[in-house]
Amino acid sequence: MNAIPPLNRPDAAYNFAYLDEATKRMIRRAILKALAIPGHQIPFGAREMPLPYGWGTGGIQVTAAILGPRDVLKVIDQGADDTTNAVSIRRFFARVADVQTTTRTADASIIQTRHRIPERALTEGQVMVFQVPMPEPLFKLEPRLAETRRLHALGDYSLAQVKLYEDIAKQGESGSSYAHPVMVGGRYLMSPSPIPGFDNPKLHNSPAIMLFGAGREKKIYAVPPYTTVESLDFDDHPFKPVRAPQRCTACGSTTSYLDEIIADDQGGRMFVCSDTDHCAENQGI
């Protein structure tokens, strides 16, 4: 079974958490600045990481910068702890930082994630690290980055509102089922990273620290604890978090976010919790 056993063991050849101390300090400065200006994108000097862009290079650098020897790390990908990327990143930090890893949300002090926020309510002292492909919420609406920066500075978000208007006019509801833009602290429009709209309300007034890292785009942004995070909407078309109206086949939950799984070639399908830890907990495993 132990195909690559050495990778699970601490490797003394690396500096703690892979990055050198100067780089970590640079990233921490960006994080502190991001926390001081909730929702505002801070540029940082993203490094080459031993994984491709789009696999979480931003998240992994943020995690490396905040990781301490006593931290307990959980990594999820699409809500699951057992997918390739989640397993690789967990093993990576076990090897280069010798930290304890877990799959249990309750036990984790740092949770690096792609696409989901755990179902279990986060607590004070926990840190969520999001992997962000595109940090700019206006990028599909305004192609010039200099102009998007100006719009952020002026707080002019009518473009995003117009996009929402168009969605409702065309299809009767918001067109973004994931990465639905949010207003942070009533000031900055922010992309919550590609989490489903279902998870947007979990950002609002959360006791946990939310850090967002975009490696390719070289931006870090953050939502400090207990900060208002409101999904963009209209007064008469309030934002609605959407979930499939089914029960989880495995644990029977009717409140968690579900993945649809095609079961056979006859169109058979089943729905299971996307958050594997939550599902296991419900089943008493």
Binding site: S158, Q161, V162, A169, D233, F234, D235, D236
Partner: protein, 257 residues
């Protein structure tokens, strides 16, 4: 009519060796329609853009008295201040509708954008107001979800006007609003603008090289040449009894059908 809405004086602007503006002064009073006429390159569009705060002059002052009676120094105003004026108290109608519209966004979205940037967050009301304004510029409100690409040039221009007027500005800048349209469409559009301006009591500053359009719309006409104002006065006076030789030439060169 106690004080001018917009006061400017001593405007100078050079593009290299060319004096685009050479000591221009112009005031606009509430509810007044002023036409700037002149040949291409006389500096009329440049003057419009300087007054609207889109480009800065080398020297001179532009003062605008806002709704609260506060005098805003346009050249000294921050970009945020200029943008906020531009989306609340001012409107700008471009010659080419493509410059003033979002071509990929529906007619309703185009009109609604200004309401949304002014803080409108009620979809139903924004949509109702957009439909109302489409009717007011004589467009079919049933086409509210079509993009401007589906509309003719005249319709696009109407849409641009609706988009400008929806937030009820006090001062509208128009740069050749009827340029590039055929004569019958021009006539209808001029008629529409005249009706709206009278009903809403707008102050309008528009640039045109079309003397007929100026006669139809304007209360007052300013004639520009080589970056200077060579003559100004009431529209009928300037056109019927031109004093400056250049104005005489302009008026004489109008083709009669």
């Amino acid at each position: 009519m106690t004080a001018p809405l917009l006061e400017s004086s001593g405007l100078h602007l050079r593009f290299g060796a060319v004096r685009a503006l050479d000591g221009v002064a112009i005031d606009i009073w509430p509810g007044e329609v002023v036409a700037i006429v002149g040949e291409s390159g006389s500096g009329k569009s440049t003057l419009l853009r300087v007054l609207a705060g889109q480009i800065d002059a080398d020297a001179g002052s532009v003062l605008y008295r806002d709704t609260d009676g506060v005098t805003q120094d346009i050249p000294a105003l921050s970009e945020a201040g200029r943008r906020s004026l531009m989306r609340s108290e001012w409107g700008f109608v471009h010659q080419n509708a493509r410059d003033g519209l979002r071509m990929g966004i529906s007619a309703g979205g185009n009109i609604g954008e200004r309401l949304m940037s002014a803080g409108g967050r009620h979809y139903g009301r924004i949509r109702a107001e957009a439909a109302d304004w489409m009717a007011r510029v004589e467009m079919d409100p049933d086409r509210i979800d079509e993009t401007p690409r589906n509309f003719s040039g005249g319709m696009q221009q109407r849409l641009q006007i609706a988009r400008c007027l929806v937030t009820q500005p006090r001062l509208v800048f128009m740069d050749e609003p009827t340029g590039g349209l055929d004569v019958s469409v021009q006539a209808k559009l001029l008629d529409l603008i005249r009706g709206l301006v009278a009903k809403l009591g707008l102050a309008v500053l528009f640039v045109t090289h079309d003397i007929a359009a100026a006669r139809l719309l304007a209360h007052r006409i300013v004639v520009m040449r080589h970056g200077r104002i060579v003559e100004e006065g009431l529209a009928d006076r300037v056109l019927d009894d031109p004093q400056h030789e250049y104005t005489q030439l302009l008026v004489a060169s109008v083709l009669a059908a």
